[in-house]
Every structure is written in C-alpha cells, then in structure tokens.
C-alpha cells in the first residue's frame, strides 16, 4: 500500500493542477493578509472559502484521477498486490497531496506573517484540520462515485451534484424546513441535521473555535450545552465517521468490482 501511495502521491504532486491549487491558496493567503491585517478576521474569511472549496476540489480531483488512472489501475491490478491496498494507496495519495497543497498554500503566508506567535494559531490550525478532513471525505465520496459509474460524464455529473447538494441545496432545505416547522421544538432536529452534512459540521466546528459559540448558544439551553460543552468532540467524532465510512464503502466496492 505504501508503495502505491508513494507513487500516486508523487504522480499527483508533480501534476500541473496540484501547482495551480497550491498557487491559488498561496495567493489567497497572501492577498487576504495583505488586504486586512487582522488575523482573526482573515481566519473567518478563509473559513468561508475553505469549507466550500476543499470539498469541491476533493470531489473533482478524486473523480478525475480515478477515471484517468483507470488503465494504470488495471496495470497495478495485474501485479502481485492486494486490491484493497491498490485502492487505499491511490485514495490516500490523492487526499494527501490535496491536503498538502492546502496546508502549505495557507500555512506559508501565515507563517511568514507570524501566526506562530499569535493567539490565532489554534483557530488557524483547526481550520486546516477541518479542511483536511473535508478533503479526505469528499475524495472518498467521489472515488465511490467513480467506482460505481463506468460512464465518465455521468460520474462527473453525480460528483458535482453531490457537492452542490451538500454545499448549498442541503442547507436550503434545512433552512426552509426550520422556518416551516418553527412551531415545533427544533433544537434536536437542528443538531442532527448538522451532523448529517460534513460541510455544515465543519463550518460549525470552526465557528465554535472562533468564539461565536455564544451567538449560537443564544437560541436555547440544548444549543448552549452542545456548543459550549461536548459539541466539539461529538462533531470531530462525526467527521471521523464521515471519513471512515466512505473509505470502507469504496474498498468494499473496489474488491468486488470487475476491471
């Protein structure tokens, strides 16, 4: 597995798109810091971008890589390696190289700016952690799609749809149902609905770190308990689940699939 990981990582790290992605974050980081000197404000702006962008890039890269590496995968399948390791290695290769672009692309400008000495280091680190989680989650989801759809155009369509649903449409339905049913106690439903969308989950996690917990707790005791108490741990646990389950599914599919 490590060999496969190493090679697909090396392959991706040298691809033009990785550099474009890295450069994007570098430019974003530097320009945000240049435009406003307030670190914590920058972290908030970055959150808005990271929470939407890392899932999108994870989805697109995951699906593109697996479709374009189809024949290479077949070559690997003919080698004396376990199937599971081939797919796990390739998946980790993509997810790691994308995460590296994220961490370096944002980390370098912030390090130069001196975040290491600032109190925002934890918030920033948390943001990177959440971005990495989202990369791993959405790469796994898109690999699942590519394994289950031979037709590239269809697969690509499903992947984009998945992103669109989780990034925008889910929240729209969520918001409308909250407003429609506001005669009922909604706090449990709200928390549950948040758990079922990794993007919402990540956004809430970063917001919690950014001191907006009081704002969220404004609405009631359950929220307050959740957001000021165990919320961080439960949410992190859910993110781990969101990573592990799609990976398990993709390995299951990979082991049973014909090439």
């Amino acid at each position: 597995m490590w060999k496969i990981l190493k090679y697909s990582f090396a392959d991706l790290v040298r691809s033009r798109w990785s550099y474009v992605y890295l450069a994007f974050y570098l430019i974003l980081g530097f320009s945000l810091l240049f435009l406003n000197n307030d670190l914590s404000k920058t972290v908030i702006t970055l959150m808005n971008i990271v929470v939407v962008l890392t899932p999108m890039i994870g989805t697109i890269f995951g699906i593109m890589y697996f479709y374009s590496a189809r024949e290479f995968t077949e070559l690997l399948l003919a080698q004396p390696i376990k199937r599971r390791n081939i797919f796990l290695g390739q998946y980790l290769g993509i997810a790691l190289s994308l995460s590296l672009s994220l961490v370096l692309g944002l980390g370098i400008p912030f390090l130069i700016y001196g975040i290491a000495q600032s109190s925002e280091i934890w918030d920033f680190g948390f943001l990177l952690l959440v971005g990495t989680f989202l990369t791993f989650i959405f790469t796994a989801l898109s690999v699942n799609i590519s394994l289950r759809n031979e037709n590239k155009v269809k697969g690509f369509g499903y992947a984009i749809l998945l992103w669109l649903v989780l990034a925008v449409i889910y929240d729209g339905i969520f918001l409308i149902s909250l407003v429609l049913f506001d005669d009922y106690p909604l706090d449990r439903f709200t928390l549950a609905a948040t758990m079922f969308n990794p993007i919402d989950l990540s956004r809430i996690l970063v917001l919690l770190k950014l001191d907006i917990s009081a704002l969220l707790g404004y609405t009631g005791a359950l929220f307050q308990n959740f957001f000021q108490g165990s919320g961080v741990f439960i949410s992190l646990g859910m993110l781990v689940l969101w990573t592990v389950v799609p990976v398990k599914l993709l390995l299951r599919k990979a082991i049973r699939k014909d090439f």
């Binding site: 496969i4 392959d11 003919a78 004396p80 090439f259």
Partner: protein, 239 residues
C-alpha cells in the same frame, strides 16, 4: 499450468462466459480466438483476478487463485491499451513496477531492442501510442514469469517492432514459458500458436492445434476456417 472450471460471468443481462472449462497443461503459445464480445479478454482478466466470476474457479499451478494475489508474480500481463500515470518518466515507471514486484531485473537489453533508450527520461504523457505500447511490452517481458498473458500485443506497433515482438515471443516459448495471446491477426496465430482456444457465445467452441481446426472445418487455412465457423454460427441462429 492453468485450469479453468465452469466459469460463469455476466455483466448485467449480458452473459459473457457461460460455463467455460479448459486446461492448458503444456508450455507454448496458446491463442485465444473468437469474435468480438466472445469473452476473450474476460477470460484473461479472470485469470488475473481483475474480473470476478459469478461461478467457477481458476487454478494456477494447481492452486485456486480467486481472491488471492501473490500468484500474480507468476504472471506478466500486457493490457490492450497502454495508459500510465502522466507525470512519471519511462525510467521511473519501470523502476516503480520493479519496486512493486520486488524484482531487480535488468531491462536494458529489452529497452535497446525496442529502441526506447532516447525516451527513458521523457514523461509518459508526451509519448505516442506506439511508444507507449513498446514501454508496455518491456514491462511485460522484463520479469521472468512462467506465464505471460498478452492482450492484443501488436496494437499500434510499427513493422520493425512487430518483428522484435515475434522474436521475443519465440524466445520465451523456447525458454519453456506459457503464453496466452489474443489477437485478430491470423498470420501471427499461424506462425506462432501451438494451440488454439476458440470461444463462441461464452463457451469453448474448439481447443486444439491450427491443423486440427483446419481439418475440422475442412478449410485450407486458418482464416477460412474461422470464417467458416462464423458462417455456421450465423446459420445456427437463423434456425
């Protein structure tokens, strides 16, 4: 060497293999023939473990291999289309496959034979289809595997390389290896094949030598023999 028992495989409603049994005991070149969609590639891929059958078992050297993976170091596979990671160079790709197979073979002789030395440091994405196929051939023949599976090995090759490939196949046969080949080029079969397996509608229609096939169909050469089989097949379906 290989024994296949009662292999069934369908993709959705389409039945590709419908109870295939055969055994290849001796060494030599075995040509797997059949019309398009008769399941040639599916059989090869089942042996490699890339396609998972609904029923049946594959034995390599007497051991069942479905779900296993270590037996694949006995097999070298030349796929139909050669596609590699874009950002690696030829040299890196060769090193990588060597690394994966845990082998320290010397590929320089093969590289020279196919004139690949100038391309060693080029990225795979910048190579032409034919050159990629040559890289593919090098990767297949550089490991000293007792079983070689070649799926349309001549695709995209120039005449010079085609001759080199034929020589290579002959050499391997003389070393006592087993080669499973699918191809549409009948010359190649007549020239090289010790045995023919002819697939039709997911079943073995014929297994034997070229001569036996010619005798069976009463035709002067292989091309006509095969044409005859196709014709019969069409008439069968008419009835």
């Amino acid at each position: 060497m290989i024994r296949i028992e009662n292999l069934h495989k369908g993709f959705g409603k389409l039945k590709v293999l419908d109870g295939v049994d055969f055994e290849i005991g001796s060494q030599g070149v075995v040509a797997v023939l059949g019309p398009n969609g008769s399941g040639k590639t599916t059989i090869l891929k089942t042996i490699l473990g890339m396609v998972i059958p609904q029923e049946g078992q594959v034995y390599v050297k007497g051991d069942p291999v479905l779900g296993e993976y270590t037996y694949r170091d006995q097999i070298a596979y030349l796929p139909q289309i050669a596609r590699f990671p874009d950002n690696l160079s030829v040299r890196e790709l060769i090193a990588m496959i060597k690394n994966i197979r845990g082998s320290s073979r010397d590929e320089s002789e093969l590289v020279d034979r196919f004139g690949l030395r100038p391309s060693l440091n080029k990225k795979l994405s910048s190579l032409s289809g034919g050159t990629k196929q040559k890289v593919n051939i090098v990767l297949t023949f550089m490991f000293d595997c007792p079983l070689l599976i070649l799926d349309e090995p001549t695709a995209g090759l120039d005449p010079v390389s085609l001759i080199s490939l034929k020589e290579l196949i002959v050499e391997e046969r003389e070393k006592g290896k087993t080669l499973l080949i699918t191809t549409h080029i009948m010359n190649l079969v007549e020239e090289l094949a010790d045995q023919i397996i002819f697939l039709l509608e997911g079943k073995i229609y014929f297994q034997g030598t070229v001569k036996e096939l010619e005798e069976k169909t009463g035709q002067p050469d292989l091309e006509h023999a095969i044409a005859q089989i196709f014709k019969n097949d069409v008439e069968d379906t008419k009835i």
